[in-house]
Amino acid sequence: MNLRAIGCNVESATVELREKLAFDAIKTQKALAELNARFDAEAVVLGTCNRVEIYVARQETVAALHAPLMAEFLSEIHGVPADVIAPHLYEHADAEAVRHLFRVASGLDSVVLGETQIAGQVKDAYEAAHEATATGSRLNILFPTALKVSRRVRTETGISQGRVSVSSAAVDYVHQVFSTFTDKTVLVIGAGKMGRLTLNHLMELKPARILVTNRSPEKAIASAQTCGGQVVPWDNLDDALVQADIVLSSTGAPDHVVKRRQFDEKVRGRRATDRPLLIFDMAVPRDFDPRIHDGDTVTIFNIDDLSRVADERMAERRRHIPAAEAIIEAEVKKFVSDWNRRANGPVIGQLTAEVDKLRDATCGRLLTKLNGKLTDADKAEIEQAFRLFQSRLLHGPIAALQEASQEGHSGGLREALMKLFGLKG
């Protein structure tokens, strides 16, 4: 096995460096072509917002590509000095590289544990390399296997269970209260980041109306344009609350924007009692007086409530790490064993053919010398004896090679056999 996974991720490199090393489509094509032409290596470039990695596989008889060399290569592609890149690169070799790719594809190496997006990114990276004919017999087996392992890990463990972002927790609460959304009105108060993120999720539910209000009319118009909403003047906030079913509030106000008394007098009484109001107060300090929450017609979730849900789900995912790692370990072992068996195949075939030739020549000479003195039965007996000898002679080395491949280190033995029997690689 001559396989390397070399790159950097959020833990080894700053976002500034990762930005500089990011691969666009053109740079990816260039890098793949260069790796192919210059090093005769199969290659896949995996670039996401959290990592830049290059997977390279070469013939076993040639030297491996190491991190310092790859730093030079990345320097050429991105114009960043190699000595700036090198300290941040990690290198995983052979079985370790396989394990790393399996973990990456399964979301075990992701910032958000178990995230599913990475599997798609691995698939895209492989397909791009495959289309550029940068992959060969080695990576064409490794990457599809990694995607299969990723699916298995996600299916058999709860590593990707539940949605772990704060905004997706809000959407899950919305599903607890409402069953239809096409007749609902979403009110967005303020222009905070969390409010915008949650609104993006809620827009997928296709609500009937989105109302946007902000102390600054300009900001309200800008927000409304991005979400196709309708601007409501700040002074009409109470009326908007009467119409709303779901409220996303994330202003930067230093005090409550909606006070209990104001809500009770101007909003509560004007709403139908069988119309629940769900408020996501994502502002700190909070925009809504918490006493408005009655858990019946009006339910308020603040940022801490949503974060707690996200944290609980993440903790639940973490519980599945050992099971996921166990699957990956078993799959790595199987993959390495299969890989070595495949690599042994041609060597064993060549070895058997060479000894066959030798046996035929030796046996043929002997039978020619004894021609006329032997019956057909004697000749068959002699040929059988030679075959048996050959079989016993080769049994030891072949069995040792197979055994070593199962243990994942047949490379050295394979090379020794090739040298001993004068086989060509």
Partner: protein, 277 residues
């Protein structure tokens, strides 16, 4: 003469089948796996099959408390099967099956301990095909189904509302329908049940003077509790459409109306005549 093996079906056959289905559904909540659901459904279908056979073979009278409870349990068992298939991700069975099991159990207790009627004194004008009696029974039964559905929806509503009030994580605990869906289910069940109950009561009222003891009939527990149920319904509808009381309070009243329904169904019918079993 050959005897069908289905003639040996008893309350225990379907009651225990429902119990197994319920336990398997509970197991599914603790250890999520598809197998539990399939096994639970198999027991549920077996229970419905056995109960259907029992009802067809024994034909318990609708006016007898144990018969009406058994028929109501059967309709709710069908409702459970529908819900379990339709709302596959929700813990539907966990809420409906206890009601079904409870009704089957109550029916069994009444069938074995209460004096059994040997017949029903049907008024002459309706005696031909017992037409009006049957209409009265069917209307009351269908209204009872509505009340039972409303009870289950209200129970789920209160639990879901409690979870939201306490801000439990959305995926923690028993998976349930949204508040909106439960409120709609409760409202529809009551809206359908009320006219059925009213019509059933009217037919019953017309039949009442032809009963064996007119004066006592009006004061029988069955009549009083059914009338009470109708009044509670009236209050419920007024609170919902007239005063717009929050859904949580209506859910509590709906649960109370189910208690009245059990009392009404469990009480012996004033037309029942005959000795003790």
């Amino acid at each position: 003469m050959t005897v069908s093996p289905l003639q040996g079906v008893t309350h225990a056959c379907f009651g225990l089948s429902y119990l197994c289905a319920f336990l398997l559904e509970l197991a599914r909540l603790v250890w999520p796996a598809r197998g539990w659901r399939i096994a639970g459904l198999v027991f549920g279908v077996a229970g419905v099959f056995a109960q259907t056979a029992y009802l067809l073979i024994n034909q318990p009278p609708l006016a007898a408390p144990y018969g009406s409870l058994l028929l109501l349990a059967w309709v709710l068992a069908l409702f459970y099967l529908y819900g379990t298939v339709h709302y596959a991700k929700q813990a539907w069975a966990v809420f409906v099956l206890p009601v079904v099991i409870g009704l089957v159990g109550l029916s069994f207790v009444l069938a074995t301990t209460s004096p059994e009627s040997t017949g029903f004194s049907v008024p002459e004008w309706a005696a031909g095909e017992r037409f009006w009696g049957a209409i009265h029974g069917v209307l009351i039964l269908l209204a009872s189904v509505g009340v039972s559905v409303s009870f289950v929806a209200s129970l789920m509503y209160l639990l879901q509302a409690r979870r939201l009030r306490r801000k439990f994580a959305p995926d923690r605990g028993v998976p349930m329908l949204s508040l909106e869906r439960l409120e709609i289910m409760n409202r529809r069940a009551l809206n359908i049940a009320f006219p059925l109950l009213t019509a059933g009561l009217l037919v019953g009222t017309l039949l009442l003077p032809h009963g064996p003891s007119f004066g006592d009939n009006w004061l029988s527990l069955k009549i009083l509790s059914t009338a009470g149920l109708w009044l509670v319904f009236l209050v419920l509808l007024y609170l919902r459409y007239g005063v717009h009381v929050p859904p949580r309070r209506l859910a509590i009243l709906s649960i109370a109306s189910f208690a009245l329904l059990l009392l009404a169904l469990g009480a012996s019918h004033p037309f029942a005549v005959g000795g003790v079993k």
